[in-house]
């Protein structure tokens, strides 16, 4: 067996659907039916999960640290809002894709700035771009509505069939379907040779270049793709809440997103989704304890996670689920092994 076929069998084996993954999605769908009073928060979680998935593509797979991912979220949100407000594209699904494409174009253009330089420069540039867009949105308040945000957005029924209702039922199922489709695509991408080359770049850009991977082109491609995802997440935000305000660009949004991904773990796609669930629950919990000062506890969680070590925490958290899975599957079926943890 040559080394090449060895790599491809390994890749194909890891791309196979596992029982635990199916269980995850069944559980997600079951939640949507089981808790009809919780549509709004579940929609929030789905949206956040999609947004975190987008950051995972560049952070977990390509190793680009970004402090300004909210830029794309915001662009997607405003695009969807403006399209609906001015009646340019009334059909939500097409508007969603259009908003994603706008964000992807922005991602493509800014990727040339981001791929240059080291971590620190990237942090500064991504942060700068998000702040720049926020300043722009504030400056052109006649278009964006300034600090008041876009008001009076009315969403048309999805595909002309399903109207958004006030309980958020349509919104939830719509978001869930969008998330699932995009997740399938992301899963396909990261298990493709393209995804493998991204991981090679993350682990060692120099070596990746030496074996013939066009490092910059791959990074540009994945950055634009992640921007597309973030744009869709932003558009979903606007479509399901019927508002878009300046805080879609805020630094806190980017920082929270980092926390989401760190809670869930980077580099295995489910991290963002699990992280979104845990983050929202933590937020609810903290807000019920101290409504005004929940930020403190979020900060504490971040500090503790970093001090204890991300990989170690994930081993602890995944210990019980993995134990159960081994009982059923009977073999070394690590459902959720953070990428950085793998030997």
């Amino acid at each position: 067996m040559t080394a090449l076929s060895d790599v491809s069998t390994h890749a194909m084996a890891s791309a196979r659907w596992r029982i635990s993954e199916v269980a995850f999605w069944v559980l997600a769908l079951a939640c949507a039916f089981l808790f009809p009073s919780r549509y709004l928060i579940m929609t929030d979680i789905v949206r956040l999960g999609l947004f975190a998935l987008s950051l995972d593509l560049i952070l977990g797979y390509a190793g680009i640290v970004s402090l300004g991912h909210a830029a794309f979220f915001g662009v997607g949100a405003y695009s969807a809002g403006l399209l609906a407000l001015h009646g340019i594209i009334n059909e939500p699904v097409i508007a969603l894709v259009a908003a994603g494409l706008v964000a992807a174009v922005l991602g493509f253009l800014t990727s040339f700035l981001v791929i240059r330089g080291v971590d620190l420069t990237r942090l500064m540039v991504t942060l700068g771009i998000a702040l720049l867009l926020e300043a722009l949105a504030e400056r052109f308040s006649d278009i964006t509505g300034g600090t008041d945000g876009l008001q009076g957005i009315e969403m048309q029924p999805i595909l002309g069939l399903f109207a958004f209702d006030m309980f958020g039922k349509t919104g939830l199922f719509y978001s869930l379907i969008v998330l699932f489709i995009l997740f399938l695509f992301a899963r396909r991408v990261v298990h493709s040779p393209f995804g493998l080359s991204l991981r090679a770049i993350r682990n060692n850009p120099l070596r990746a270049a030496a074996i013939g991977i066009p490092v910059n082109r791959r990074l540009i491609a994945v950055y634009a793709l992640a921007a597309f995802y973030a744009g869709i997440a932003g558009a979903l935000f606007t479509q399901t809440t019927a508002l878009a305000s300046l805080d879609v660009f805020s630094f806190e949004r980017s920082a929270d997103l980092m926390l989401v991904l760190v809670i869930g773990g980077t580099g295995y796609l489910y991290g963002g989704l699990i992280g979104a669930v845990v983050f929202k629950m933590l937020q609810e919990l903290f807000q019920s304890i101290t409504p005004q000062y929940w930020l403190f506890w979020i900060g504490l969680v971040l500090v503790v996670i970093v001090m204890v070590g991300r990989a170690r925490i994930h081993r602890w958290v995944l210990f019980v689920p993995n134990l159960i899975i081994r009982q059923f599957a009977g073999r070394r079926a690590a459902v959720a092994m953070p990428e950085g943890d793998a030997p």
Binding site: D119, T121, V125, G128, M258, G299, V306, R310
Partner: protein, 289 residues
């Protein structure tokens, strides 16, 4: 003409203030290669220490200023010894997450203890109003800032260039391994420098309450400014960040005065352009290794 000069002077004062606030970050970020987004939290701590001492305990402003320095430095050294030093060898992502966590905690904690509204420090009467210098109106308070910050800059330059500690620090920064081999206690040098930088930030925070405004969101609002000073200025010397802060200060004041609507826009654009053109900063050689 006079208004231009007044603006220029305000810009210089603002820039010098930014320098005092950010030069501690130049050490942690540029020299120790630690992405410390929580630097503003130390500045805020100094500001609030000064505010409590002056407003609640009735201390004179000029006595409270050194205490703001000492208080922030003590907080800084305590955190450095307990938390920061474990993270020097970690990835930038970990450092970013950790320091964002610290910022969030400090914001909420100060909000809880001091309330969320803006705090003003009672200034002595001698610092209020303007003096007229050759037809140019100059705020007394800003004049004091320029004097204090100017002296501090000179002192820092002298310490770095002439003292034994300065040469140890430069050695530790240039090549930590060789410095350890020469018998320099590098962690101690770093801890001391970190504490000193935090102290300067605290002093800057106390001085800036009047100009920048002091509220619990201070660390978040000015984080980008501190980062700009360090990344644009580079960190191979103290002059780089100094010139960068002056530029930023003058540009920001002028921008807010002459083109109020696009002010922030211009600053971020310039920052991105400079970072792309010279990734190691305008004046730096080894900003980020």
């Amino acid at each position: 003409m006079a208004s231009i000069l007044t603006n220029l002077f305000d810009g210089v004062a603002y820039g010098m203030l930014l320098f005092v606030l950010a030069c501690g970050l130049a050490v942690t970020l540029g020299l120790m290669n630690f992405v410390n987004l929580a630097h503003g939290a130390f500045a805020m701590a100094g500001g609030y220490i000064c505010a409590v001492l002056v407003n609640n305990s009735g201390w004179p402003f000029f006595t409270a200023l050194p205490l703001a320095f000492v208080g922030s430095a003590v907080i800084g050294v305590a955190l450095e010894r307990t938390l920061y030093r474990h993270l020097y060898a970690r990835s930038h992502l970990d450092q970013v997450l950790f320091s964002i966590g610290l910022v969030f905690m400090s914001v909420a904690a100060v909000d809880y203890i001091m309330g969320s509204s803006r705090v003003f420090i009672k200034l002595p009467a001698a610092l209020e109003g303007q003096i007229d210098l050759f037809g140019v109106g100059i705020g007394r308070y800003r004049l004091m800032i320029v004097v204090i910050c100017g002296l501090l800059t000179l002192a820092l330059q002298l310490i770095l260039a002439k003292t034994r500690f300065g040469s140890r620090l430069r050695a530790a920064v240039d090549d930590p391994r060789a410095a350890i081999g020469l018998g320099i206690n590098v962690p101690q040098v770093f801890a001391f420098t970190f504490a000193f930088g935090c102290g300067l930030a605290g002093l800057g925070g106390a001085l800036s309450a009047e100009i920048l405004g002091l509220d619990p969101y201070f660390p978040l609002k000015f984080m980008i400014y501190f980062l700009i000073v360090v990344t644009v200025g580079g960190s191979s010397s103290i002059t780089g960040p100094f010139l960068a802060s002056l530029l930023l200060g003058i540009a920001d004041v002028a921008g807010k005065y002459y083109v109020p609507k696009v002010g922030p826009f211009v600053i971020y654009t310039v920052m991105i352009v400079i970072l792309l053109w010279r990734p190691n900063g305008l004046f730096g050689r080894t900003a980020a290794r």
